[in-house]
Amino acid sequence: MPAEKKLKFKLIDIVLLTLITAALVYIVYRIKVTIRYDWSWEIIPKYLFRFDKGKSRFVASTITLGFTMTIKLSIWGIILGTIIGLIMGILRVQSGLFARFAGRAYVELIRNIPPIVLVFIFYFFFSSQLLDHLGIEDAITTAGPGLKRFISIIFIEPKLLNEFFSAALSIALYEGAYITEIVRSGIESIPKGQWEAAHAIGLSRFSQFRHIILPQALKNVLPPLSGQFISTIKDSAIVSVISVPELSFQGMQVMASTYATFETWIVITLLYFMLTFSCSVIFGKLLRKMQTAD
């Protein structure tokens, strides 16, 4: 451990603090005096939880439902994106010409179109065509209540399944491209000598990869990978454009029906922040634990 620099309160801190305070005062002033914003925080709680008379208990309401939807989307996006990224990242370092090209083409394609376009393409061209043809929708409508409930818990209510799949898949494809590059650079960071030593003890190409290279590469990529996971949570907001009721979309709904613009977005901001920040704290702890473990 290098000796830690002692932190002191310096001139730059005073300047920064003054600037930030001034900016805050100005914003509050503008809202209060110039646009005479009428704060009405009291309407927010019922969009978080509402009392269900039928069940005679509190149930999640608009914003909370959006919050859990964002979590579900992120989890599916991360799982699928990691699978895609792992496969494509491995393809990227193969000596086979086509394998390498396929990996490269995928990454370049995704990175060079705006994510919002990707979401639309997926929704209109692939999903609406593909899912219909696979007959998933029909299967769901005839499904029993147990299955329907299960689907609602791990995905979404059956009638929005199309939107959910398009959303999760486009998030996965988008994040997958970045994860591909993370995996590739992780593999390429392993010194050539490791391949050679593995070759010299007779391991097959697959075993060299599986037992020697991949474990080291994956350990190296955990920090950037966890950063990408956190990005996924933020990036998931983009699927609001296809009306998946995730946090941002629900925010827009609440804003439209209450006109409580500031209150709504402050709440939404805090919820996103809570989610990403707690994830980065958890990932940070896990990483440190893994590093000290060996």
């Binding site: 010194p191 000598g193 050679e196 030593a197 010299a200 003890i201 007779g202 075993s207 080291q216 350990k219």
Partner: protein
Amino acid sequence: MHNKTLGETIIAVDSVSKTFDRNVKALQGVSLKVKQKEVVVIIGPSGSGKSTLLRCLNGLEETDSGAIVIDDTPLNEHHRNKLKIRTEVGMVFQNFNLFPHMTVRENIRTGPRFVRKASLEEADRTTEDLLARVGLTDKIESYPRQLSGGQQQRVAIARALAMNPLIMLFDEPTSALDPEMVGEVLEVMKNLAIEGMTMVVVTHEIGFAREVGDRIIFMDEGKIVEENSVENFFANPEKERTKLFLSKILENGGCE
């Protein structure tokens, strides 16, 4: 080792050439025969093709032309042959190249486990025997980074031996080591030679070459310049270039 009987030819290299990047001629028509139990020491200036020759012998590098036959198996396109040769030829590298994510035990048993398909108990037994042989029994659960350079190289030797190879290749096994650790590694190699292992060793350790080597090969510019018995090589070398090289390394105290 001058009082052992050598066996049949086990390595036969016939006019092998290898060119890198179109014009770097690393090997130019190298021919060489090594007998069972023989210890051949290769020396030569930097860039003369010593490593390339070793790497061709276990298929780490493909040759452009010429033939290599190891234990009657030609090293050619056939995947089966390549694999057989890789498992019969062990290699020890200058930089050890231990697997940093594995303990010493796992480093050594990986080959037997995944190539020989040995059971865990069997592989562990081999590992323990080999560690005793290189004098590192107490380090079995250590990670490579917890070991000194000399210890790491001894583990690397044990790892190669775990595949029960017919031939061991050493590419400057002591040149990355601090001087005080050179001895322990050479000692292990010497014992291996005494037990009758066929060895091809690239080294500038003159003492080792004199004591353990059966034959010395001097390479320069991708060719074998001189091939001689140990006594003659140092006492009265045949070629001018050999003399020049020897005078240089002897005045530097045996190291490049």
